[in-house]
Subunit: 204 residues, 4 copies
């Protein structure tokens, strides 16, 4: 059976949970549209995230790759349209490293389009009653890093595997202790949305 | 068994669902902290909402009254601290009527405090992993109208029944078709939060 | 000539400037609608703000009192509709004191309406090209404290002096060093707005 | 004297003013850092904006090109980091035309970096007391269209002219009639910010 590699990140920034990983592991082992979902976790570490991704591609030979990460402040699930060739954030990774205007792929292009059907994914999530929209920026932290790096790797290797990234809102449990008006979406809702999105991007 | 009257509003503003009523009916018939939850719906009509509330008080003789309403744009469940003696909104009610600077209780005081334990309710919701905070304004539309009117009625009748209001976020299903960045919270999460809040306000 | 007492607060919360005071002193000595504007600064100290206000009323015998304060996060100038009888904030004042659910006026009513023409003020500011709206909560920090306390004092003394409160946005200069997306409005714009508001509330 | 072409857009979306053009014409004819600022207006029309830009490059032979556009909802002035090769918006242009997933430069790369010193521009604006930050998306409406198209044109022609785009907030005058909490910044503040940004990007 064809495999869909679904990644989430480990917790970061002082959080004890990361919704992207909670969603991934909730869907681990499910069959969606003729694909077996294989969930794996990525570290929030600049020097390791892409190495782990490369290892997973070698190990699993996935037919589709969907990476996910949390985006605090967003109220909707957002398939990303494009990844850009720069890592640049004042926020340190989980190893305490800060990146400033650092290219991800040496000699790589400025940007890669997602090769997932992002509009079909958004339509499917809305149909499933889950707020969603296309996003035009994956930021310049680890989410963009993994999205760009994976697309660059697949291109260099000549692998025509559809690949892209989805940003997800925080969980209510994460927002509850601080409650400063940040939006969140419950895990059940998010899992329902991502399941619909995966089905949409594996069709056709 | 003691009764807790839990009200939600009918849909309004072109919506086909109102989370306040969905929560109420999800909890209808449950026992929470020694109280039987009795859920009833209120109309979004200036001239009828308080008449219906008064009828429910006569019919049910509740021991606690918790009214709920939707507040678009809020990311958290918000017990209200205070209700003020004015109805004033450019938005028409479901009968097409607009109120401008209209007192709710003739000769009534400027405001009434909620007589629920709002801080205990917030603490209990957060403990249950649900984003919550005390709100200092219930607005000047039907939510405030029902909160003020109920407290005014109980005062005039000399009934020492604890009573107050909770604003709840929209549901993901409501936001999905438009997806303009408005926060929402799933019904499961909201029901879990309100259950915890009801338990907290019926203790002691 | 009749006098309009216009107060602003001293800086607080680590800021070096408070837009409410910058606006007040910009208008100090101006004549607006037949009133002389007299600007004075209030301390952000629970135990002193109302004492200073009372002293100013004794000293100046103002014919109108308009108090102002900064409200971080607001994009518009907001005349407040109502003040409530409670001080309650996790934020310490400039003397390091925290207030929790503390009544402002012992034996005072739950709330006082602003006795300024808040809707005329909003209309006048919009006419002058300045974003404005009526607010239904002055919060529970020092702004509400001064608004409630002043209205309570005037009532106890039987003084029919129109009095109320206006919340103002932060200044661009305050937001520039952090730039986290918080709205602001330039001093020139704010002064233009407050001048229009004062004119509106002194008419008739 | 070297020339800096500074463009703003005509009004769109039912507005009667566009802050980007108001800023441009306020700075028209000024000398900034050894450059003469030449302000010109671009139409909000998919088929014409880049033709006008190309004509201006031919006519003026500018040494630097800074294009600007309004971004409703933003509280800060945002130099854009990157432009992407797609026009895609449900909002029609001023000629009533809608673009959906349309490439801007046939055969062009996925994206171009701004060739302006965007971080120096942000630092200079903050230093001048104006809220500013780097943005990672210019959207997919006419702003991105002009940014991408201009960089693509300069590349095809082999012209090493620094070029980029700045998104600016709305004006208070635009927000005043609706006042729904959208941030704005006064023209004086915006002109001060853009002047500082132009100086920063023409240095060195």
């Amino acid at each position: 059976m064809r495999k869909l590699l679904l990644t989430g990140f480990e917790p970061f920034g002082g959080e004890s949970v990361n919704p992207s990983w909670e969603i991934a592991r909730s869907l681990d082992g499910e069959q969606v549209g003729g694909y077996l979902v294989v969930a794996r976790q990525l570290p929030v570490i600049w020097n390791q995230a892409l190495e782990v991704m490369e290892g997973l591609i070698d190990e699993l030979s996935p037919d589709v790759i969907v990476a996910m990460g949390q985006s605090g402040g967003r109220a909707e699930i957002c398939p990303e349209r494009v990844a850009i060739n720069v890592s640049d954030s004042p926020s340190a990774d989980n190893a305490g490293v800060v990146m400033t205007d650092e290219p991800i792929g040496n000699g790589g292009p400025v940007a890669y389009w997602s090769t997932l059907s992002i509009k079909a994914m958004v339509a499917a999530m809305r149909e499933a009653g889950v707020p969603a929209r296309v996003s035009n920026t994956a930021g310049t932290y680890l989410c963009n890093h993994v999205m760009y790096g994976t697309l660059h790797l697949l291109t260099r290797r000549g692998l025509g595997i559809p690949s892209g990234f989805i940003h997800v809102p925080g969980l209510p449990e994460q927002m509850a202790p601080r409650s400063k008006g940040e939006p969140s979406l419950g895990l059940e809702t998010q899992v329902r949305g991502i399941r619909a999105a995966l089905l949409a991007c594996t069709v056709g």
